[in-house]
Amino acid sequence: MADTRLWLYIDFPRLALQARFGTLESATPQLLLNARSGIEQCNGAATALGVRPGMNTATAYCLLSDVETTQHDALAEQEQLQRLALLLYQACADIRLCPPSGLSLEIGSMLRLYQGLDALVGTLQKRLDHSGFHYRWACGHTAQAAQVLAINDQPLVSSDRQQLISALDPIAIDRLGLDTKDAARLKSMGLHCYADIRPLPRAELGYRFGPTLLQRLSALETPDTLGHRFDIPPHFDERLELSHEAEHSASLLFPVKRLLTNLEDYLKARQCLADSLYLRLIHRNKPPTRLRIQAVQGSRSAQEWLSLINLQLDRLVLPEPVLSLHLRARRFRTDPMPSGDLLGTAYPQADADRLLSLLVSRLGHHQVHTLTTTNDPRPEYATRLTPAVDRTGRPESSRPRFQPLLVPDTEQRVAPQQFQLLSGPERIVMGRWAQPAPYRRDYFRAWHPHHKQAVWLARHDDGHWSLAGFFG
């Protein structure tokens, strides 16, 4: 039986750049830099001004007076590739990821379903165009051939095997995906393109170049797969169209539960917990209503998430009926094994976490704060309030100071005679880089005999004294 397999290779040449900046339409030149200070990718605005991939960064900067740059983020690029695969997943079952920026689709087996190449390609094209990502593609009688044609900008979409094979002929030797050294050697023998090496006896080539070259050539000519199979996406991102418009938040609970059940299955499969969910309620005209639900220690259970969402929905007044739901989970953590809790102290911590989760859900993310210390020696800046569940903030002070935590909001002038000075002065001076006004204070620990209280006094440069804080 004839081999009916056919491959489509899709290459996203500016994937890393777009993963960072999104659209390529920006009028500002955008550059993706690699670690060796070269230009890896650039947008149209940069190209128009003479920048080319591979160019030295310093040269590129000379050409551009205004520019946005980003470093190559391989992880973001990989995630974006997976998202694109997910986008095409519903149209084609056999998708293979070819990092850093390609997808190889076996489309031969899908042709019957779509009743022809055009319909399948049309569907894929629609999805890709919708994504906004710049791409180039080509069909091939082998996965490797499709890849070579695609990355050489030969946008051949055909199932004609002969046409596909002869399309490879003009491709330059160093663009065939061969080992760089082999390609260079072949070129130095005057063999410039695929058509030049195709008729050469393979034994002669093998004798001169070894098995690697033959393997590569064989991959171009004999059907084989490329890359690795695309599986479950790393993020949970699902949308649910409601069968009828929901006018009250309470009526959303049931469809939300469906999404959460899917999420629970997804998390189980990935053996992880989600620590925050983003739920978007899509309306017809108004902008979507966004909810962020957070579980302090992370959770997998649909029931737990439902109770947290319920708390938020309870308080929610819908601006307009809801058409669809969009649930995303992006931040995951590994499932901690239950620790042996001999002394039973874990329960209060779990209770505290649960309480914090409930407080955050009930009062909102920015209403619950905790006190942290900083490295700034100025008492006004030595402590600050940070969101209670935001763990991404700056680390706390590495050197806690003996300063009072309780600092008055406004300056309270005092007469130093009323106090007994216990120690000091401790002089605090900040550089001009930290604040425009000169900052120089002498601080004293002191005792207020009447109030029986230890306080912190500040002597200012102009000689006046103020209360800087309370100890104890």
Binding site: M189, P377, D442
Partner: protein, 1052 residues
């Protein structure tokens, strides 16, 4: 200055504790004097790198303060300060620093407690408590190590717990029955340096200022404090103790007794006798026709001066090194202040005959100068290491070491580090830095760079500028001097600590050349000069191929043909006078004697250019302007350069004559010129100079020019004594190019990389001079490029060394097995040992098999089938059939591309010729037609103006279009706003001048294109043959050359 204060600061770090101290040593000294301190200890961290600078300012300005030398050490958080009260203590301190530094990589040090028990019998120890429970035990240990020489340090810097710590320190002192003494852990001379100190700390921790908060001082108390504050914090007793310690410290750097090495002295002579003997022998050799009374008198005067200064050992040491080099056939040439003496000429240290250079030895060793004489000796760059090894072998690593170079903050490094500390986006900053030169060129570069704010508030911009200005000139780290050796009679580490350099097995001392000069230590510069390698190789080639045993001293110094060649700027490959700017100047200056070359070498430099001295000199030289002197008193100083100061020495002499500078002041000016950016001192001297010259009636305009020239010399000082040495090498190389172009070019090719031109440019130049260059050939080539008898002429045969990636070992294996009649078939190479497939590929690519196969493609196909593969691979495939597959033959362009890839040059036709034939590029005027065209135009205009009775214009101009490959782009610092581009076509080079506006408008073509079409005006001056094109439009022709990669050399 305030009244004397009974206090000595004993714990003070200068900015030579890199990225910690925020004040220069000089600033600390001056501030301490201002506050009335009795003494100041400079105690940099495991270093004495800053002490000489502090000492110099005290000595030069005769300041009433005692300098104490010490160092701070940190181990496990414990701070120990050691002070050197005596010379032996100083030597012990240097040894300790050396031990600690030599254990670690560059810039690091490591100590353990046991180190303090060894050989520190004379050092004083200040111990600082950490406020930890083991303080007691630690103090007992150090008190035991430094019996009767240990103090407990009380430092109250008004921090959170400093009062407790101070009290605790006093308690510990009482408990251990030790004296307590106060100090202030000084990091800056005034509290205003707090911002800079914070920034330095952030840079040290490689983070931003905000993130560096935990590491910053909480206040600005680490400065030199006032009397009031000291009294209120420490009380009289602790302050008095500082004086008791200071009183014990008698050591100053002038006590360092430098002893010249005596190794060079044969037993029966003393130094004076031996030097006299060698000079006498030299006279017989140098002046075979016999010495004249004048020469004898000069020698006697020089020897007397050397005797008076006791410099005999210095001259003998340099002589010994030069003698070694000669014995090994290593070419060398001395230059510098003392080198241009009859004594050095007789000793063979220099080839410059002082009779020909109108210089006087005593101008360079003056009685008023205490500095050691300075002789730099250049050696062949590829063989300098042999000389260095000889020095190490002769004196041992303990007695010979390299001087350091202090790497200081310059504009770009300052911008990058301060920017990072301010939290600026680094890639945005890099963008600014990359554009520096193209877009930002004026002196207000800081203003230009931050014109868009870079996301900073107005206040932050102010801070940013303040920090940038503050950090400029701050030392960043120590590096290895290019070749300055210090050689001592005793152990170097007795005089100055030694530390590891970045290069393996290299060590440097902690002082730079200025420090060495200040302290009076002898330094010999062992420098590398590529041209000397080329000259030696040329001599060898002439001997081998022309049978002439030529010596440099035999070369006539007044050869007319050589000077005619130089005057036509036909100087590609020649030493010094080959750059674009120099070549531009040659047809104008028209040098016709050796001294003209000395001027030529020195005139195209920032000093004379900034000082606008070039044009006046040119005009006077061609007789357009009369020679006159601003004042008759200046005649002796300026006579030899037609009344225009060109050399650094003339500026110094001028300061003495015109501004009445004393010998000391003049020396100060000379030193400050070299480091004018690092200290404001030069400005004071310049004001003094201006004021006094003004008073003496010199015109303002002249004074301003002298001032600008001083600034220019700061960028790159170039004294006559060095120009004299360089000019001689420039002359020798010109002479070789003129009379033996093939030998000279071959030698240059073998000495690459060096000079201004690529191998391709050198080969094209020699071909234009009628020399045949033959390709690399398996049967004829050697490893190096060689001369060969070809068609009854000497030709250059390219060697295997030109093939990129082909190693000398492979070449030697090949040569060892090459049959006498040569290889007849490629297959013969099959059995050669030590030659791999990769080697054969490289040879085939280079076209080396041209005699054996029809073309290089086929050669490569055939050579790759030789059974050189591993047996495993051979077995896996059928052996190749005898029937070889026939491959398509390469065309001329294919060959050209392969040539460039393989050897960086081609002997075939030029790319431009091929492109012209293909009509791939527009038709333009070739380079070789430009001058004749302009000469014809000049004749036409001359005839016209004669006929019409009009004045002749000063230049001829025509609109033109030219094209060529960009082989050089240069943005000289001396010419703001101009970029010089050199284009190469198949007939020669075309000089393009691009003004800033065009550079910015066509920046894309200018920076990214290899082949460009320039539309503009061609210009020729009336009185010389310099032709250049002023670009009005630049278009890239990239498509035509996309397969060819020819590298441009960019000099910024």
């Amino acid at each position: 200055m305030t009244d004397s204060l009974p206090y000595a600061e004993l714990h003070c770090l200068s900015n030579h504790s890199f990225l910690r101290g925020a004040s220069h040593p000089q600033e600390l000294v001056l501030r301490a004097v201002e506050l009335g301190y009795q003494a100041l200890a400079i105690t940099d961290e495991c270093s004495v790198a800053g002490v000489v600078k502090a000492w110099r300012v005290i000595r030069d300005q005769k300041l009433p303060i005692k300098l104490i030398i010490g160092a701070e050490f940190r181990l496990d958080g414990q701070v120990i300060i050691l002070l050197a009260p005596t010379e032996s203590a100083y030597s012990q301190l240097c040894h300790l620093i050396t031990r600690a530094r030599r254990r670690c990589d560059k810039g690091e040090y490591r100590l353990n407690r046991q180190d303090f028990t060894l050989n520190l019998d004379n050092c004083l120890c200040l111990w600082s408590p950490r406020g930890r429970s083991d303080d007691d035990e630690q103090l007992a240990y150090y008190a035991d190590c430094f019996q009767d020489r240990c103090w407990v340090l009380v430092e109250n810097l008004l921090t959170e717990n400093s009062f407790e710590l101070a009290t605790r320190a006093r308690g510990l002192a009482r408990q251990h029955n030790l004296p307590a003494v106060c100090a202030n852990n000084v990091h800056m001379h005034t509290p205003e340096r707090k911002d800079l100190q914070d920034a330095l700390t952030a840079i040290r921790f490689n983070t931003t200022l905000t993130e560096a908060l935990p590491y910053l001082f909480p206040n600005a108390e680490n400065h030199l404090r006032s009397a009031n504050k000291l009294h209120s914090l420490y009380g009289a007793e602790l302050m008095q103790e500082t004086l008791r310690i200071a009183d014990r410290c008698d050591f100053t750097l002038d006590a360092l007794r430098y002893r010249y090495p005596k190794d060079v002295l044969p037993g029966q002579y003393n130094a004076e006798e031996y030097l006299r003997l060698l000079v006498r022998q030299g006279v017989a050799r140098r002046f075979p026709e016999g010495s004249t009374p004048e020469i004898d008198a000069t020698i006697e005067r020089e020897l007397a001066m050397i005797r008076e200064k006791e410099y005999e050992h210095y001259f003998l040491t340099v002589y010994d090194i030069v003698r070694f080099a000669r014995s090994q056939n290593i070419l060398c040439q001395g230059r510098g202040s003392a080198a241009n003496s009859v004594v050095c000429y007789c000793l063979g240290i220099t080839e410059v005959n002082p009779k020909q250079a109108s210089m006087l030895f005593d101008r360079f060793i003056s009685k008023g100068r205490d500095d050691p004489p300075d002789i730099d000796v250049d050696f062949e760059h590829q063989r300098r290491e042999e000389v260095i090894q000889y020095i190490y072998q002769k004196y041992g690593r303990k007695r010979a070491a390299l001087a350091a170079t202090v790497i200081s903050y310059r504009r770009k490094s300052a911008l990058r580090d301060i920017g990072r500390a301010m939290g600026l986006n680094i890639s945005q900053l890099d963008q600014k830095i990359a554009n520096y030169g193209w877009r930002y060129r004026s002196k207000n570069w800081i203003e230009e760079i931050i014109s868009d704010g870079m996301g900073l508030s107005e206040h932050q911009i102010g801070v940013f500028k303040h920090l940038l200005e503050g950090i400029l000139g701050f030392p960043r780290h120590l590096s290895q001097h290019v070749g300055g050796f210090i050689i001592t009679e005793g152990v170097v580490a007795d005089l100055v600590p030694i530390e590891n350099a970045a290069m393996p097995d290299r060590t440097v001392i902690q002082w730079d050349k200025d420090d060495l000069e200040t302290v009076g230590l002898m330094k010999v510069d062992i420098l590398a000069l590529g041209m000397l390698s080329a000259v030696r190789r040329t001599l060898d080639l002439i001997r081998q191929h022309h049978g002439k045993n030529l010596k440099l001293q035999h070369i006539p110094r007044d050869d007319a043909a050589t000077f005619a060649m130089i005057q036509q700027a036909d100087t590609v490959g020649v030493f010094q006078i080959e750059s674009r700017a120099q070549m531009n100047m040659l047809p104008r200056l028209k040098p016709n004697c050796y001294y003209d070359l000395v001027v030529q070498v020195a005139i195209v430099r920032p000093g004379p250019i900034h000082g606008d001295m070039v044009h006046p000199y040119l005009k006077r030289r061609i007789g357009k302007e009369a020679v006159h002197y601003p004042n008759e008193a200046l005649r002796p100083v300026l006579e030899r350069t037609l009344g225009v100061p060109i050399f650094q020495e003339q500026i110094i002499a001028l300061a003495m004559v015109a501004a009445g500078f004393s010998s000391d002041e003049a020396n100060d000016l000379r030193r400050s010129m070299a480091s004018w950016k690092q200290s404001g001192h030069i400005n004071k001297l310049r004001s003094k100079l201006t004021e006094r010259m003004h008073k003496n009636g010199y015109p303002d305009e002249f004074i301003q020019r002298i001032n600008r020239q001083i600034e220019g010399f700061g960028e790159y000082g170039f004294p006559e004594s060095h120009a004299a040495g360089f000019a001689l090498i420039a002359y020798f190389s010109s002479w070789f190019k003129c009379h033996y172009p093939e030998a000279f070019c071959c030698a240059l090719l073998n000495s690459l990389p060096m000079g201004f031109y690529t191998a391709s440019q050198l080969v094209q130049d020699v071909q234009r001079h009628g020399v045949t260059v033959l390709p690399v050939n398996i049967n004829y080539s050697d490893w190096e490029n060689q001369l060969e008898w070809y068609n009854k002429k000497t030709a250059i045969r390219l060697g295997f060394c030109r093939i990129k990636g082909f190693t000398q070992t492979s070449a030697m294996n090949l040569l060892r097995h090459r049959p006498e009649q040569g290889f007849q078939r490629i297959k013969e190479l099959e059995q050669l040992s030590g030659i791999g497939t990769a080697d054969l590929d490289l040879l085939a690519s280079a076209g080396a098999f041209a005699d054996l196969t029809q073309d290089r493609y086929q050669a490569r196909w055939e050579s790759s089938a030789l059974r050189l593969q591993t047996p495993l691979l051979t077995d896996a495939f059928e052996p190749a059939t005898d029937q070889q597959s026939q491959l398509p033959a390469p065309n001329e362009l294919d060959n050209l591309i392969e040539d460039y890839h393989s050897q960086g040059l081609t002997l075939g036709r030029h790319l431009i010729t091929l492109l012209r034939e293909d009509n791939a590029i527009p038709q333009t005027v070739p380079a070789s037609d430009l001058l004749p065209m302009m000469q014809a135009e000049q004749r036409r205009i001359a005839g016209l103006s004669k006929r019409l009775g009009m004045n002749q214009p000063d230049r001829v101009r025509l609109p033109i279009r030219v094209l060529g490959l960009v082989v050089n782009r240069q943005r000289p610092k001396t010419k703001a706003g101009v970029t010089f581009v050199t284009l190469e076509d198949d007939t020669g080079n075309i000089n393009i001048i691009v003004w800033l506006q065009q550079a910015q408008q066509y920046i894309k073509a200018l920076t990214t294109e290899q082949l460009v079409l320039v539309t503009g005006l061609i210009e020729k001056a009336w009185d010389n043959d310099v032709v250049h094109v002023i670009a009005q439009r630049i278009d890239g022709l990239g498509e035509a050359t996309k397969d060819v990669r020819i590298r441009s050399r960019d000099f910024h």
